[in-house]
Amino acid sequence: MADTTRRTMMKGGATLLGTAALARAVAPLAEWSESLDMDEFLQRHYKELSRDEMDVILRRIEAKTLAEHGVEVHVEDVRPLEGVSFGYALNLSACIGCRRCAEACHKENNHDRATNNSYIRVLQLDKGSLSLGNVEVDYEGEVPKKEHFYMPVQCHQCDNPPCVNVCPIEATWKEPDGIVVVDYDWCIGCRYCEAGCPYHARRFNWHTPEVPAEEINPDQAYLSNRIRPAGVMEKCTFCLHRTRKGRLPACLEVCPTGSRVFGDLNDPDSQIRWVLANKRVFILKEDLGTLPRFFYFFDV
């Protein structure tokens, strides 16, 4: 795809999807076509943009955020770190289901306030079973509740990601550090990826996130927490705007139980590697062959 614009990609998409599916796929696009600006529409694919072109786009996004939300933000195109491969592990013996992680994600990633959106969903499960039969996600009040344990779920950044495989237009892909990203300027909101994800880790922006100006996190990246347009998919990026600069993800820092372990799988001395080597680790829905980079463990 030497010089593909989204338009030519869309044509490819049409044959791939069939007419009915395409009608659904472009529906969100049609809805906001009035406000769609031409630069954005003709933007080339992320992977083909030069640094200079990207700079122009970033400044345009900053200007747009200032105009529409009244906030000065800094949007960067933060690239993967050379030789780094991210992994994440979560201690189910320690987690108490307090949802501080989901809340921190909500704030960090400029999620829509009214829907309480977050890339993390905490499942309340019956003790002694890992069956996803009796799951509750909207429990409230004091935790942990007796006879229950808790399992926060977010994008597993699979090495064999079904969500990427079903995207008809390559608007989502896997980066060299393992993070699966979405280009919000390229996504057409067909939601195939949402259906394809066995972990329910993808979210659809029914409308652009509404966040009070003073609460907008101005530390933003093109591929992560910048304010998403309406009609596109989004997902956890392991806070790439932080982690690619060496920082820990927001959900880890805020955890009051120390359940979360994050680091570089390529570094044999990293904490994540120690957990994989020394704890009884498992992955969710292993039989699907998705090869997650998100692991769970129990203290034994």
């Binding site: 108490i96 942990p144 955890c255």
Partner: protein
């Protein structure tokens, strides 16, 4: 409880910082520091009248009442509720942790004296597996940088999460649930 709360707020559990550290020279590394529980060791030495001595105001130096040489034995029954303290930690006696030679200090089984902020050394003496996991990041959590060539890392202290007197964790109130229409179970 109040003490623990204030400690927790100053630990790593506040909103994640959005400041970034300055780059270092190649090969250099930022330190990993263990968060020092605040309020430990900063004690007020104002004398307290004897009548009032059964209730210890927080952060009062032990020596304002006890004097340098203990007249009392340390092997008292904790259920007698000295200091109105709730101590529920295994079957430990006060002297397992507080040094009978100097009540303003902690001590290890071999007699090594510790200042209050060194509490983690005390805990580790009896909780080896948790300390091992802690040293590998698998217990206790942290904030700052996973990559210490790019910035410092702060480890939470045992006492940020576990009160030394009653270390069992207390229930907390869950943060807001998701609010999208597909998820409601009731």
């Amino acid at each position: 409880m109040l003490l623990l709360l204030t400690l927790a707020c100053q630990g790593g559990f506040t909103d994640p910082s959005r400041e970034y550290a300055e780059p270092l020279a190649r090969g250099a590394e930022y330190p990993t520091v263990i968060h020092e529980p605040t309020g430990f060791g900063v004690l007020d030495e104002t004398p307290i009248p004897e009548e009032a001595q059964r209730e210890v105001p927080p952060n009062t130096a032990c020596t304002t009442c006890h004097g340098p040489t203990p007249e009392k034995t340390w092997d008292v029954d904790p259920s007698e509720d000295f200091h109105e303290l709730e101590v529920d930690h295994g079957n430990l006696k006060c002297a397992a942790c507080h040094d009978p030679r100097d009540r303003s200090l902690l001590h290890l089984a071999d007699g090594t004296q510790l200042e209050l902020p060194e509490v983690i050394v005390l805990c580790s003496q009896c909780h080896g597996p948790q300390r091992r996991d802690f040293d590998h990041g698998a217990h206790g959590g942290m904030s700052g940088y996973w990559d210490t060539t790019q910035g410092p890392r702060v480890r939470n202290n045992c006492a940020d999460c576990h009160h030394p007197h009653h270390p069992e964790r207390e229930p907390v109130t869950a943060a807001f649930p998701p609010n999208d229409r597909y998820l409601r179970s009731h």
